[in-house]
């Protein structure tokens, strides 16, 4: 499970970085989104991957970490998801406004002179 999980994070990050470095604002936004997915998975895994264990204490079960999963990363990741979601909305609006103001989707607001780049 760890291998699959780590590979998923790695692939998402690689794709995100690649898209982030492209020159269209739409690609950049997709890249940022993928990066934030990868980050959320990473934070989620920082409490160690366990299956079938609850994050809240239950009566009758010994309150040690072996019986439960760490609840803190889940709280952290919830915050991170909300924030990155909001930021994606902001930058989307910004890209659309920039597109209509500058008439291009290029991140610099104008097409480079050399067309075939």
């Amino acid at each position: 499970m760890e291998f699959a999980f780590a590979s998923a994070i790695g692939v998402l990050t690689a794709a995100g970085v690649y898209l982030l470095l492209r020159s269209r604002s739409f690609d950049v936004i997709l890249g940022l989104t993928l990066l934030s997915y990868a980050t959320n998975l990473l934070i989620f895994s920082s409490g160690r991957l366990v299956t079938g264990k609850p994050p809240v204490l239950r009566p009758g079960v010994d309150p040690i970490l072996a019986n439960f999963t760490d609840p803190l990363p889940q709280a952290l990741v919830l915050t991170a998801i909300v924030i990155s979601f909001a930021m994606t909305a902001v930058i989307l609006v910004l890209a659309m406004r920039g597109r209509s103001d500058n008439r291009v989707d290029h991140v610099d607001g104008n097409e480079p002179k050399d067309r075939d780049r």
């Binding site: 940022l32 895994s45 409490g47 924030i83």
Partner: protein
Amino acid sequence: MSAHLPVLPIILPLVIGALMLLLEKQGILVQRVLAWTGMAGLLLLSVALVAEADSGRITAYLIGDWPARLGITLVVDRLAALMVMTTTLLAIACLLHAGTGWDRRAPHFHALFQLQLMGLNGAFLTGDLFNLFVFFEVLLAASYGLLLSGGRGGRMRVGFHYVAFNIAASTLFLIALGLIYGLLGTLNMAELALRVADVSAEDQRLVQSVAGLLLVVFCSKGAILPLYLWLPATYGRAQPAVAALFVIMTKVGLYSVLRVFALMFGVSAGELAGFAWQWLLPAGIATLLLASLGTLAAVRLRIQAGYLVLASAGTLVIGFALNRAETIGAALYYLANSVFAVAAMFLIVELVRQNRVTDRMNVQLPMTDRAIAGSLYLIAAISVIGLPPLAGFIGKLTLLAGTPEGWIGWTYGTILLASFLMLVALTRAGSKLFWQVAPDLDEADRPAPRKRRGRRRELSAIMLLLGYGVAMTIFAAPVMRYTLAAGEQLVTPQNYIQVVRGQVPDLREP
């Protein structure tokens, strides 16, 4: 009341900002009254914070009443109180300037302004790394709004760079946080400082790389060498009061560097002690040199002001990275002064633009009221460059005097050379703008001078900012004593760690 003092500078702007959103339909006057009420409250609170911190006591406040290693803590020490005070004083001047009509042009200006203050105060007061991230996001989200609202094409373009860059940096911050939690099992800074010390040998490298990630994040927020390219254009495009307020935002990054690396990788960190400083010192030196070259190269006054922000960041990083109580103290003194002086510079840019149509230096234009604008520019320039007699000089002098033996050549050379370059650049800009003035048009041709309302208030905002600098010069001894004591507190973090860990919840059973 006094028991809850540390949390009030965060709650007050939040409540005021929320109220403003509700009362927005009531018109601008209601919002201004609310904004000033909030500002007055914030001023009282920050005076109380400084008074409390000045006794040398460190106060920890447990939000939610969980013990520090589990829950979120706020900590007030001299550094935090100083930063909150600086923010409040700066914000008063910005609000004064914005109140002349700039706040009508941008929807939700006052609400965003209050939320920005909330984010800034929160970032300075928190003692928890994840909470620091959250407050970073709060202040960045508000800054996106302040920068972009009411803007068009050009501002959208730099805005996109700014937002994309900051989101990417925040993502890196989150990655670092995830790794830290996975490695060390806590995100409280004081607790981390202890756990970093006894990290096992095989995790040493991982902790180092996490610390490096954090350093990159803070440097990108604080605009240190390779990560500053977004700054001059972005700040130059923002409306003046907002640009002036943004001057403190880069200082948040530098503050975080100082707080996190002095605490977590301070004397108690064993092999990792002093991790950041070896990287930061060369970075600071290079930033300062390139920024002073940037001031020489700038064709517009507002771009030049952007590079002045960078130059002050470079100087501060040098002071922090030398990592002695004297240099940190001197750098903190310089920080407050340079925030006020550079913010004043951004407001002067606007004054020049109004009196002279544009702030481009390569064209000769007639200029009205150049005596006033010129004198204000002169005072701001003296303060920024660090010429005697103003506070910038005292800050730099103390910084140089405190430099340890091995670094004297580099530090003296860089700071003095950079100051000289800035002196040349600002003198040239001043003489181009205020002396080489094209002859005025004939009386008949000249368009009737526009009567603008609020001009006196704009001037008074600039004078207020410059007045802070002058006050810091006159009261240099007590202010310097305070900042030196803050430096002392930072190089001996044991007390901070003890206080935070020793704070017991009031109601909750541990």
